[in-house]
Amino acid sequence: MKPTSTEELAEAIAEAAASGRRLEIAGGGTKARIGAPREVEWVHMTAFAGVIDYDPAELVLTAGAGTPLAEIEALVASKNQMLAFEPHGAAGSTIGGAVAAGVSGSRRVSRGAARDHLLGFKAVSGRGEAFVGGAKVVKNVTGYDLPKLAAGSWGRLFAMTEVTLKVLPRPPEQVTLAAQTRDAAGAVALMAKALGSQAEVAAAGSVDGVTALRLEGFGPSVAARRALLEAMAPMRPLSQDEAEAFWSGLKQPLPDAPVLWRLSLPASRAAEVVVKRLGPSRMDWGGARLWLACEDAQKVRAAAEAAGGHAMLVRAPEAMRRTVAALHPQPEPVMALERRIRLAFDPAGVFETGRFPDAD
C-alpha cells in the first residue's frame, strides 16, 4: 500500500494491528535484502515527500520522510551546506530510510552519525497513533530523546512521516592524503595518531595497504593541518578522482563479495580481527568500522565479540539470511529491555515481520 496522508497511514496501521497483519515500512525499498526473508505487506512511504522547511541560517531542515535523499543532498549543496553524517544509498533511497537504517558515512568518526543529526520526527506508532518526538531546533532536551531511538530502528517501532535534521556548512576545501601502510596494525596506528592529533581529521580509512586521511575546512586551515599530517609519515595527496573513488569505495565496499559484514569495533582492536584472515576487509572510521567478506557467520561473530565489538550481516544470499540473524545477538537483560521498548510502541507486533529475529 502507499498511503498519502498521516490519517490514511494511521488507519492502515490500526487496522493491521486489529486484524493481525504485519507491515513493513519502506522508503525506497533499497535495503529490502537486509535481514531474514519474509512474507509481508509493504507500506511505501514515498508519498510523504518534499522539503517542508529549510532555513540555512538556522542549520535545520524538515522534510517528508519519503523525500529522495538525492533531492535533499542537492538542495543543501545549493546553499553550501551538507548532511554531515554522509547518508548514502542506492538510487531511490529516501531520507527517512537512511535515518531509520542509521546510515552514516566516513565522516561519522569526526562529525557523528545519523543519530546525532536527527533532531525531531513525526510518526505513526504500531498503535495507529500519530505523535511527535524531539523538536525543530538544534538544541533541545525536553522529554525523552526519541529521535535517538528512531535512528537505526529499521522501522520496528513506528513509521516516520517527517524528519527534522541538523545541517552544517559544507567545507570549502577538502584534501585526502594517502600513506602506504605495511599491515592492518600499521594502518590502525597511523589513523589513531592522526585522529588524536590537532589535524582534526575528518575521515580515516584503509584499503589494501593504502591508508587515507581526509582534511576539510577553510583553505588556510587545511594547509596548516596538512603540514601536521605530512610530518607524521610520507604521504601523497590523492587527485580529486582518486579521493572520490577511495571514499565511495568505503560506502559500497567489496561489491563482488556474496557475503558482507559490517563490524563495529573499538578502533584499536580492528587489526586483531583483520589478522585472522577471515576474508577481504576494508577499514573506515580509523578502524572502528570494519567491512569484512566472509561466509562463516560463527567465526565473524566470535571475532567481533572477542575484539569487544559486534557484527551486522548486510549482504548475503537468501539461504544464509534465513538462518543467520542480521543484527548481532545482544546479551539478555538488554535484549529483554529492547523487546519491552518495541512492545511499548508496537504492542500488537505490526512491525515484527521476522526480518530481525531476536536471537540466532
Partner: protein, 495 residues
C-alpha cells in the same frame, strides 16, 4: 503550586526498618539523621525544598543493584542524585523516597588515548575528566558552566550542554557507553567503545532521561585533542537585532564557531560590575565569538567575523591577544548568573530554545511581559544554537514575587514553544517545567514517551514526579484499543 506524588504513609511508617535494610547493604553509607538530611533538601533549583526520607551513599555497582532491588521489592521510591546542581529540580527529594547519592563513585577508571576514550565513574566532576587527560593535551568537550561541581552521571541524566556545544555537541554526542542499574536491580551495559549501537540505540534514550530510567554506574566518554589555539572576539552592537543578524551571517558564511554567546545590556552591566572583564558598557548587545583550531584558521576566521560584525553596525570589537585575555572575556559570561545574583536578591533562570530568526520578536515580547509581571529580566543567550537564558530578577522575601517570577517564566517558555522552539535547551524538565510539557507535546506524544519509562521501570519507583505532568499507571498506558473486538497476534509473547 507544584504537586508531587502522594506520600505513602505505609512507607514512612517503615523508615527505621528501611534504614536498617539499607545499612545492611552499605554499613557506613546511610544517613537517617534529620539535620544531616537537610544537606540534600534541594538542588540548583532552590525554590523547592524537601528533605528525603533517608539518604544512602553506595560505593559499588553491586551495592546500587542491591539497594534498587530491595527498594523495588518493597515498593520504596528512589531519587538518584549526582552533585545536585540541576537547575530544573531533577534531584529534588521526595518525603517518602530514598535519596541515592552517587558522590562516592569518584574514580577515573581508565584512559585510552589510542581510542580516545575515558571510562569514569558517574560521580567524577565534568572538569575532572578534562583534568585527567589534559597532561596529554586532551579534553572532554561538553562544558556546562557548573563544570567544577557537576558530575558526569548528572550530565548523562540531563544531557548537559555548555558554551561549546554548537561545534562539539551535547553530552549525548560525546558519550559512547554506560553501565546502568535498572530499578529491579538488573545491571545492563548500553553502548561501549564502539561507535554504532548493536540494536536499538537505548543509550541515546537513557542520556537526557533525567534519572527516570536507571542509575548510571559507569560512563565511557569520548575525549578530544585540544585545539592548537583558541581566540575570542568581543563585538558590541547598538541593538540586539544587529547582533542577531551578525550571528546568522557568521553561520551563513560557513563558520561554526567553538562558542557564540550574546548578552543584553542588563547582563553586560551585571557581569562587568562583578568580574571587570573589560566589557563595553555603552552597547545594547555584546557577542563573544570563539574560534579554535590551527593558528592560521583562527586568524583567518577572526578576520571574517570582524568584517561581518562591521557590516552589521558593530561599534566595538576586541580580539583576545593572549590566553589570559580570552579567559577574561569568558569569565564575565560564565559568571553571568552569580553576577545577576549580586544586583538582585534572587533570580530565576529560564532555558528555552527558539529558531534564531525569531529572536528580535521574542526579546520584544519578553520586554512586554516584563512590564506586565512587573519584574526585570537580563538575557544571556547561546546565540549560535538559539538557546535563551533569560534571568528573571525578583525578591523571594517580597510577598508574591516568587509566584510572579514563575508565572513570568512560564509565559516566556510558552512564547518559545509558540515561535517553534522548546521548553528547555539544556537544563532539563525536572519538576520546574513538568507542568508546561502539554504546551509542547500532545497527550498522545507524552504517552508514547511514558511507555518508554514503563519499559525500564514499570512500577514508576525511580524519580517519580519529574518530567511528566500526569503519571499514568503503566497498565493503563499499555492498553490497546482493539478494533472489532479481536485480539491481535494471540501467539506473540507479552512482557
Amino acid at each position: 503550586m507544584l504537586k508531587m506524588p502522594p506520600v505513602d504513609g505505609r512507607v514512612l511508617a517503615r523508615r527505621a526498618e528501611i534504614a536498617r535494610a539499607l545499612a545492611a547493604i552499605v554499613p557506613d553509607g546511610v544517613i537517617a539523621d534529620k539535620d544531616a538530611l537537610r544537606v540534600y533538601e534541594s538542588d540548583g533549583l532552590t525554590a523547592y525544598r524537601q528533605p528525603p526520607m533517608l539518604a544512602v551513599l553506595p560505593r559499588t555497582t553491586q551495592e546500587v543493584s542491591q539497594i534498587l532491588a530491595w527498594c523495588h521489592r518493597e515498593g520504596v521510591k528512589v531519587v538518584p542524585r549526582g552533585s545536585g546542581t540541576s537547575l530544573s529540580g531533577g534531584a529534588l527529594p521526595l518525603e517518602d523516597a530514598v535519596l541515592l547519592g552517587m558522590a562516592r563513585f569518584n574514580r577515573v577508571l581508565e584512559i585510552d588515548y589510542a581510542d580516545r576514550v575515558a571510562v569514569v565513574q558517574p560521580g567524577v566532576t565534568n572538569l575532572a575528566v578534562t583534568q585527567a587527560v589534559e597532561a596529554e593535551d586532551f579534553y572532554y568537550a561538553p562544558d556546562p558552566s557548573s563544570q567544577i561541581a557537576c558530575s558526569i552521571g548528572g550530565n548523562v541524566a540531563e544531557n548537559s550542554g555548555g558554551v561549546h556545544c554548537l561545534k562539539y555537541g551535547l553530552t549525548t554526542n560525546n558519550v559512547l557507553g554506560v553501565e546502568m542499574v535498572l530499578m529491579d536491580g538488573q545491571v545492563v551495559r548500553l553502548g561501549g567503545r564502539t561507535l554504532d549501537a548493536q540494536g536499538l540505540d537505548l543509550l541515546g534514550v537513557v542520556v537526557g532521561s533525567e534519572g527516570l530510567l536507571g542509575v548510571v554506574t559507569e560512563v565511557t566518554v569520548r575525549i578530544l585533542r585540544k585545539p592548537e589555539t583558541a581566540r575570542a572576539v568581543l563585538i558590541g552592537f547598538p541593538s540586539v537585532e544587529e547582533a542577531g543578524r551578525t550571528v546568522a551571517e557568521v553561520i551563513a558564511a560557513g563558520i561554526i564557531p567553538a562558542g557564540m554567546e550574546m548578552m543584553d545590556k542588563p547582563a553586560i552591566h551585571a557581569a562587568e560590575a562583578f568580574v571587570g572583564a573589560g566589557y563595553p558598557l555603552d552597547v545594547e548587545a555584546l557577542l563573544i565569538v570563539e574560534l579554535d583550531g590551527p593558528g592560521a584558521e583562527c586568524d583567518h576566521l577572526i578576520g571574517e567575523v570582524e568584517a561581518i560584525g562591521r557590516r552589521n553596525g558593530s561599534t566595538t570589537c576586541r580580539v583576545s591577544g593572549s590566553e589570559a585575555e580570552r579567559l577574561a572575556f569568558w569569565a564575565g559570561r560564565k559568571a553571568a548568573f552569580p553576577a545577576v545574583g549580586r544586583i538582585s536578591p534572587d533570580y530565576y533562570c529560564m532555558d528555552g530554545t527558539i529558531p534564531r530568526r525569531r529572536l528580535p520578536e521574542v526579546l520584544q515580547r519578553m520586554e512586554a511581559l516584563s512590564a506586565t509581571h512587573g519584574l526585570k529580566v537580563a538575557n544571556v543567550f547561546h546565540a549560535g544554537d538559539g538557546n535563551l537564558h533569560p534571568l528573571i530578577l525578583y525578591d523571594a522575601n517580597k510577598d508574591g514575587e516568587l509566584q510572579r517570577a514563575e508565572a513570568f517564566g512560564a509565559d516566556i517558555l510558552r512564547l518559545c514553544v509558540e515561535v517553534g522552539g522548546v521548553l528547555t535547551g539544556e537544563h532539563g524538565v525536572g519538576v520546574e517545567k513538568r507542568d508546561l510539557m502539554p504546551a509542547m507535546f500532545s497527550e498522545t506524544d507524552l504517552k508514547h514517551q511514558q511507555r518508554v519509562k514503563c519499559a525500564f521501570d514499570p512500577e514508576l519507583l525511580l524519580n517519580p514526579g519529574k518530567v511528566f505532568p500526569v503519571l499514568h499507571r503503566c497498565a493503563e498506558l499499555g492498553r490497546m484499543h482493539v478494533h472489532g473486538g479481536k485480539t491481535a497476534f494471540p501467539e506473540l509473547p507479552r512482557f
